[in-house]
Symmetry: C2
Subunit: 304 residues, 2 copies
């Protein structure tokens, strides 16, 4: 079992109605890796940070079974920093600042021993870089990819090339509509599958997620949160939980894809309960199983 | 088994991206009654129409087992007419006109033989009238009620009085938030339950529905529609399917409430497939069962 994770590592400053944190560990590769680490090992991270990246953060990731050999440190550079403020309903946020710093020139180099990773999870980065990563990997069993409006609009042709190499694309509903130019999500899913990914997962925030394949539509509920503390990283935790479960089981059957979506949702629900990566920091497998079962309670009904 | 349905009967003129209809049968009582008629009999309708209300419409409702004794006809009056236009994504609509006509002075009179109805379903009308209906009924087993922003804002105190007599309130998500002054739907549900209804059902359109009781949260998926033909009446068809199933089974257990939400969703999904009430006009019980099972496929997953 091995999962290659490529994406950002960041220091986030976040304000929510519940409080604020400064320079807290963040970034897509971080959240994906931690979430996936509950299911599979090793997690092999590729990313870049500056000399200011805290040693504690590296040690924490290592303690979660994340292989940090692929972390490039630009000694005299600064780590990617993002500041954001969430509003009352937590569905909208303002970016207060985005300092790409050394992430601006990120050029993912895959260490030799990472090149046979079974699964690859590409965080939301430039699709040109995503493709460059895939070109360095030898026949991965599964490639999971995230993207966003910024790339769909700004690097559409490049993204289309990357999509041909993707097995599972994870997007939110507005991204699915933008990418497919189709307001109906069923049709959007079909249009995106025609671009390459055999499987499309549409995240709908407080409304759960849809799994769309050639054969099935699966509607996963959202966990009923009474107080979302910090939504940052939820989508990446989802991707990490999903790819982690699929790598753990090595099973891409429909029944298991459904479970993977629920495990993704489970990790995302833990993620938003605390600031930064705290909600994912020290879960037990039992806690994860219990929440998985809560998702079952939430959505199951009997015929008679 | 008997269900009293009180609400509007209307002649709707509807434009959607798929076509248009003129003076088609509509109104909350109409949709609720037809949907409920697949599960229980008799359905007892109370409403008002003008002399222009088509005889065919009355005969159609009667053919569905709807008792029309409670239909008041104002011979020299006109039936409530509504004109609406749905936009491309079908989630937004413009009301082109609303002619209340004889519905403006609707004063529901409950025929003697209706007064022992087991279940009552109150369509979206003035909460003062909803309460007036309930005061004429002798100990119904179940009272289901719909309302809307217009009454929440304009007759809040009156609505609060009505809510004390309601068992199940059906609202959409924005109405739930408005009524409770609470953006989080879990908290909104609790706040609304404190106003009277033991059970709150939150309709979320293309995102399904939530069933909220003291004990459980149940998340029902939306049926994956590729082409919604005409969304008019979907919420009323949901209410009708729900109350019909609950009256048919006489079972308010949690397991059966979940089923009722799915039967409501099932009838709503048929409703939007055609214009006006056509989608509900001649279903078979087998079709309904098949779609119920499709909802099961859509949302179920196994642990291993």
């Amino acid at each position: 079992m091995s999962i290659l994770v490529v994406g950002s590592l960041a220091l986030d400053s976040i304000e929510t109605p519940f409080g604020s944190v400064e320079n807290a560990l963040g970034g897509s590769a971080t959240y994906i890796s931690i979430a996936a680490s509950y299911f599979a090992s090793p997690i092999r991270l590729v990313g870049v940070v500056g000399g200011d990246f805290p040693k504690d953060a590296v040690r924490f990731l290592e303690s979660r079974g994340v292989d940090m050999e692929g972390l490039e440190t630009v000694k005299d550079g600064k780590t990617f920093r993002w500041g954001g403020k969430y509003h009352y309903d937590l569905n909208t946020r303002d970016s207060l600042y985005t300092h790409l710093n050394c992430f601006e020139h990120f050029d993912p180099k895959i260490p030799e021993k990472y090149k046979h990773s079974k699964s690859v999870c590409l965080g939301n980065i430039d699709p040109v870089l995503q493709l460059k990563v895939l070109e360095q990997i030898e026949q991965p069993r599964l490639v999971v990819c995230d993207t966003m409006n910024y790339w769909i609009e700004g690097k559409n042709a490049e993204l289309r090339k990357t999509l041909k190499r993707i097995d599972i694309l994870i997007v939110n509903d507005s991204e699915a509509r933008l990418l497919s130019q189709e307001p109906n999500l069923m049709k959007a899913g079909r249009a995106i599958r025609a671009m390459g990914p055999k499987i499309v997962i549409v995240k709908k925030g407080e409304h759960g997620a849809l799994l769309l394949t050639d054969e099935i539509v699966f509607s996963a509920p959202a966990y009923p949160m009474e107080s979302i503390f910090d939504p940052t990283g939820a989508g990446d935790a989802f991707a990490g939980g999903l790819v982690g479960w699929l790598e753990r089981t090595g099973d891409l059957s429909e029944a298991n894809l459904k479970r993977a979506v629920i495990y993704g949702s489970t990790l995302a629900s833990f993620c938003v309960e605390k600031f930064s990566v705290e909600g994912l920091a020290d879960l037990t497998y039992l806690q994860i199983q219990d929440r998985f079962r809560e998702f079952r309670e939430l959505s199951h009904f009997d015929e008679d």
